[in-house]
Symmetry: C2
Subunit: 244 residues, 2 copies
């Protein structure tokens, strides 16, 4: 099924050269390699990434990449880190509810800036500091709202798991949870109605359709409400103002 043909990649392939680059324009850097990988992903998905396809974008031999990147796995980690570093986190306002929602939304926007790299960013386990920035931001907001350190960590983990789960479904959107577009929705609804399970028939119109924004907002609302309630019930401090 997955036949191997020419990779979806047509860059101007310069005739073979050797030694170091001719001019002083040594355009090859670690960042250039990472960005080339991202452009391959944007165009053809993660599975299209190979040392050879990335190198081709740069008009360079695959083995040259090893001067900047410690193998393919390391390159993919670097891609995830690069994208994660690019997520712009909002300034806290002092309202737990507002801040958690804002963090959730900007995190979504940032990780979906390159949708086809989404699974990478959400799934790769980063040992670096890149992954810690959003973590630190959420923790700050929780602590500022009067949450104890242990509970803050628990709530952070729950919140992030929910957000990541939601986003992962969004980037990998499969039929189990509904499809996008009217014709696909109609087909899916017919399939569900033919499934034989009465509950599925009952909810078919709703289960068949899926709106990314709407679903994200629903999930975010539910989870942020739950977190906020938990924080306020365990620390009966301020209600809205920072510490007036």
């Amino acid at each position: 099924m997955t036949t191997r043909t020419a990779p979806a990649d047509n860059q101007p392939r310069t005739p073979p050269r050797r030694g170091r680059p001719r001019k002083g324009a040594s355009t090859l850097t670690r960042d250039a390699v990472i960005e080339a990988a991202i452009s391959v992903i944007d165009d053809a998905g993660v599975e299209a990434v190979s040392m050879r396809t990335v190198a081709r974008r740069l008009g360079v031999d695959a083995k040259s990449l090893y001067n900047y990147v410690d193998g393919k796995d390391n390159l993919l980690d670097a891609v995830a880190e690069h994208i994660l570093t690019g997520v712009a986190l909002p300034e806290p306002t002092g309202s737990l509810d507002t801040d958690l929602r804002a963090i959730g939304r900007t995190f979504r926007a940032g990780t979906l800036a390159h949708p086809r790299a989404g699974a990478l960013v959400l799934t790769r386990q980063l040992s670096s500091t890149a992954g810690l920035r959003p973590v630190a931001t959420v923790l700050s907001v929780l602590r500022a709202a009067g949450c104890g350190p242990e509970e803050a960590v628990h709530l952070l983990r729950t919140l992030l798991a929910a957000v990541v789960g939601t986003l992962l479904r969004e980037v990998a959107a499969g039929p189990t949870f509904g499809v996008v577009g009217p014709e696909a929705t109609a087909k899916r609804q017919r399939d569900l109605e033919a499934s034989g399970l009465p509950v599925l028939v009952e909810v078919a119109p709703h289960l068949a359709r899926f709106g990314h924004d709407e679903e994200f907002e629903y999930a975010l609302d539910l989870i942020v409400n739950a977190v906020t309630r938990k924080v306020h019930e365990s620390s009966p401090a301020s209600s809205q103002a920072p510490s007036a």
Copy 2:
């Protein structure tokens, strides 16, 4: 870094044979292929799966698998489906709270029956009915509790996203969210304290450690409480009994 050496796989490799099997013992079936793939995953992880390694387990040539499976991608889908089909879902008791927790726990146990296949099961988008069983079960429980069809679908999606997010972190456990084991925890704590970000220093002891069961239960509790509250506030019906 990832050097290719002999795959971690030492099965009795019979001398080459040709034509169909000698005895009537045509042991090769689609299920046998799927189970061989699972055993490769259990032993060496998903990335160790190749048509060749799976075939080796069965004492057969890689190309023979194509008689039972439509390529590698289809094989991995089949693995995910096989494992998902094996999750034993509990009988509903009539209590929304109890039932959602029970479903969450058995879903966890089922998808983690083969931990190294976890990401596959949680991530692959199944077009088949296998993925619909848990979906239908959750929907039934929500509907029985008086939840309307549209809200049931929203709540199902939120609940499953949170559970999947939590389990995905569990199977792919990386350092960002804490590590397992006392010595790794100690090292992680030192790293966090050296990070420079004050919040991280503050919560380091809690962020460094990670207990799978404890974290799952915390997340499950938070989310199930939120779902239950939402259902009860929008349909002020029974409190505990089915419909007495």
